[in-house]
């Protein structure tokens, strides 16, 4: 009789740990676009003294990703909805019109886990720059985005 209670308790303990459908860890989510900066004159890696990055997620106003001093790289989450592109706006001074980077891509949905649902991987990333101040041009490095390890684009300031 006493043993039975122990077995029962142990099984209750096992089942109570079973529910893990709430927590989705960050790295299992959709990867972010990784950008680094280069100096336009000598093509060396550089830091930008002040940088504002805003992204159009289909909401107004734009979502601010970063507003920071002395940045050498930036991670930009791309859109995961039906939109075939994401518009990213760069400014180095407030009040500046800035440069618009439109990234077009092909999306692929990948199932992760019950907690995370699906994530998106991007292929055939294509940058399209309008406005050459402050970003002068774009160098493409890696056109697939499946993790956050490699640099996708270099922005030349």
């Amino acid at each position: 009789m006493k043993n039975l209670l122990w077995i029962f308790g142990l099984l209750l303990l096992l089942t109570s740990c079973g529910s893990d459908d709430d927590i989705c860890l960050g790295e299992e989510s959709t990867p972010r676009l990784k950008l680094k900066f280069r100096n336009a004159s000598n093509n060396l890696l550089t830091t930008v003294d002040t940088l504002y990055v805003d992204v159009d997620y289909g909401k107004t106003p734009l979502t601010s990703i970063i507003y920071s001093a002395n940045v050498d790289s930036v991670f930009v989450p791309l859109r995961i909805d039906e939109s075939p592109y994401t518009d990213i706006y760069f400014r180095t001074r407030s009040g500046q019109t800035g440069s618009k980077l439109r990234v077009t891509y092909d999306k692929k949905s990948i199932y992760v886990s019950p907690a995370c649902g699906f994530k998106i991987n991007y292929e055939n990333l294509k940058p399209e720059l309008t406005g050459t101040t402050p970003v002068q041009d774009i160098q493409t490095n890696n056109t697939t985005l499946t993790d956050e390890n490699s640099i996708n684009f270099y922005l030349r300031f």
Partner: protein
């Protein structure tokens, strides 16, 4: 309509269980003094039936058990479960039939009435059901409310289950109250687009492989 077909199914399986037990009778007779006479107990789970009125889950289940030796009973469970899962961006619906087959062993019996007592047992279970993923979330930063929807599909899941419980006769009638807990482990499931099922009829929430079920049945011994 559906309940009617469940009942027809339950009773046809009941007759099969009776038929199969007449064979095991011969083996048991030599080893155990207790003599097998065709017997069966039919029970309906009133706990889950009652809670159907108050929750999103509608579950009807019942069992047929037969005492095949002094301490061992064979048991077949049948049920229908209709459940939804709406959480964390998911919107899932699943409904279908499930069946379990197994046995239990009387761990301690009332000396005056050997049908009363505590028991432990094991069952194999399977569920055949329709599921519909109306929404599966897509996770990404700064973008909420993005989903993928899938067409309804037919799936099946299989699990093993232990049962721990007690059976008590109601006074000296043929009625029994049977209460048990069923810790279960999801062994195999078919998947749509590699998605792990969030709910399985008869099993319950299935995002983790372990789950626990409870039942409180009123049974009648024929």
């Amino acid at each position: 309509m559906r309940t009617a077909s469940i009942f027809i199914c339950a009773f046809s399986l009941l007759s099969i269980s009776l038929f199969s037990q007449t064979k095991t009778e011969e083996k048991k007779q030599d080893s155990v003094k207790w003599k097998y006479t065709p017997n069966f107990t039919v029970g309906v789970d009133v706990l889950n039936l009652g809670s159907s009125f108050f929750s999103d889950r509608q579950m009807i289940q019942g069992f047929v058990s037969s005492r095949i030796s002094k301490k061992v009973h064979a048991v077949i469970d049948l049920g229908y479960d209709n459940n939804i899962y709406q959480k964390n961006g998911y919107d899932v619906k699943a409904d279908g039939l499930f069946a379990k087959i197994g046995g239990f062993y009387m761990l301690s019996m009332d000396p005056e009435n050997d049908l009363n007592g505590f028991y432990a047992g094991a069952k194999l279970a399977g569920s055949f059901y329709n599921q519909e993923y109306k929404a599966v979330p897509v996770k990404g930063l700064n973008s909420d409310g993005v989903f993928i929807a899938f067409d309804p599909s037919t799936q099946s899941s299989y699990w093993i289950e232990a049962s721990l419980g007690a059976r008590v006769q109601v006074f000296s009638s043929n009625f029994f109250i049977d209460v048990n807990a069923q810790p279960r482990y999801l062994a195999y499931t078919t998947k749509q687009e590699e998605i792990k099922p969030m709910i399985v009829p008869g099993f319950g929430k299935s995002s983790g492989s372990f789950n626990m079920g409870f039942s409180w049945s009123i049974a009648y011994k024929f």
